[in-house]
Amino acid sequence: MSGGQYHRPHRRAWFMERPAYIRFMIREVTSFFMAAYLIVLIVTLAKVGVGEAAAAEWLQALSTTGWKVAHAVALAATVWHTITFFAAVPQAMPIYIGEDRLPDPIAKIVMGYGPWLTATAIILWGVLR
């Protein structure tokens, strides 16, 4: 007689169902590439620890096309992380001035893009100086 409530089957591939879910997965997967880069970065620093000759050899190895492509992918992933992270800043940390909420674009610049560009400029200056 009574079949009771109907429970829809579990959707295994839910992340393919909506464009927004796919965008979400891309954002999450940036962390895999970022982690891989961070490991390479520690290796680079380790080579510096070994000595300047070892570091020079390693930097020469990193100039090959394969490594360049890998770094380009990591850069794209990380910049995407940055953009998506700053997009959430006004939602996650709203700033109120009295009754008014600081407009989203201003909040993003003050708490995101401003510090980002400043830090990037300082680092690049430090490296290229």
């Binding site: 007689m1 079949g3 109907y6 999450e28 996650a92 109120y96 009754e99």
Partner: protein, 256 residues
């Protein structure tokens, strides 16, 4: 009559006493530019098939009872105009991530439990006598939580959220936004009690900020934002308890 335009509605049908599996049933409905999907379903129920079961009440986006999946998107059917779908058929299903009771009606029990879990009422340590008047609040204090108090419990956000679908312990967007609404209320002193619930493993931390709850919310509540703020508040509370295990105080204004 012969010349009237029509539009097809495919309704999800499931009657527990006769069906073991759901099925879809198509209905031709007269097309009217001013009609919303709910009008079409009501027309079917009134003129074609009285056995179609659905929920609705206000017809004006206030009561939150007419939420359904319209072509796969969680929508208030009283706010989904036929003209946005015409001339293509419209597929109407009950909200996903909920057990189906009958046809387009889902079981709200679990949702109601989750709302209760966050203690959605003002908690005071010291309750003033009514002779002392109301607890006053400035417009700036009201602005802190007003957006999160606009929820109409339509549950669209639960259907948009994949985490709700696969994690039973997750309290879900509306409940967490509601908890946060009280945590941000200057008259409230119950943050610690509420965060006690929200700090449980997947209750709030299951959220990975997919953000679709905020996109589908018809009342611009922004549950996704509320949850991120609640997490920051929860983390502060966690560290506070770590430092002073007993006297975990309120965490006013955290995440701001």
């Amino acid at each position: 009559m012969a010349e009237t335009k029509t539009i097809t509605l495919e309704l999800f049908r499931y009657h527990p006493e006769t069906d073991s599996e759901p099925r879809f049933q198509s209905y031709e409905v007269p097309y009217d530019e001013d009609w919303v999907v709910l009008d079409a379903i009501n027309w079917i129920k009134d003129y074609v098939d009285g056995s179609v079961t659905h929920r609705w009440s206000c017809r004006m986006g206030v009561c939150g009872s007419c939420g359904m999946m319209v072509n796969g998107e969680p929508k208030l059917t009283c706010a989904a105009f036929l003209k946005n779908y015409y001339p293509f058929p419209i597929k109407v299903e009950p909200l996903v991530n909920f057990p189906v009771e009958r046809d387009l009606v889902v079981d709200m029990e679990g949702f109601m439990d989750k709302l209760q879990d966050v203690k959605p009422y003002i908690i005071r340590d010291d309750v003033n006598d009514t002779s002392e008047g109301e607890y006053l609040q400035t417009p700036a204090e009201l602005a802190q939580y007003k957006q999160y108090s606009m929820c109409i419990n339509c549950m669209l956000c639960y259907s948009a959220c994949p985490v709700v679908g696969h994690e039973d312990d997750f309290l879900g967007p509306a409940a967490l936004a509601l908890g946060h609404r009280y945590n941000k209320d200057s008259r409230d002193q119950g943050q610690s009690e509420r965060l006690e619930v929200m700090l449980r493993s997947e209750a709030m931390w299951g959220c990975t900020f997919v953000g679709e709850c905020t996109v589908v919310c018809p009342k611009h509540v922004d549950p996704a934002g509320a949850i991120q703020q609640a997490k920051a508040m929860g983390a502060q509370e966690y560290f506070k308890r770590f430092v002073m295990p007993k006297g975990a105080g309120a965490t006013k204004g955290a995440g701001a």
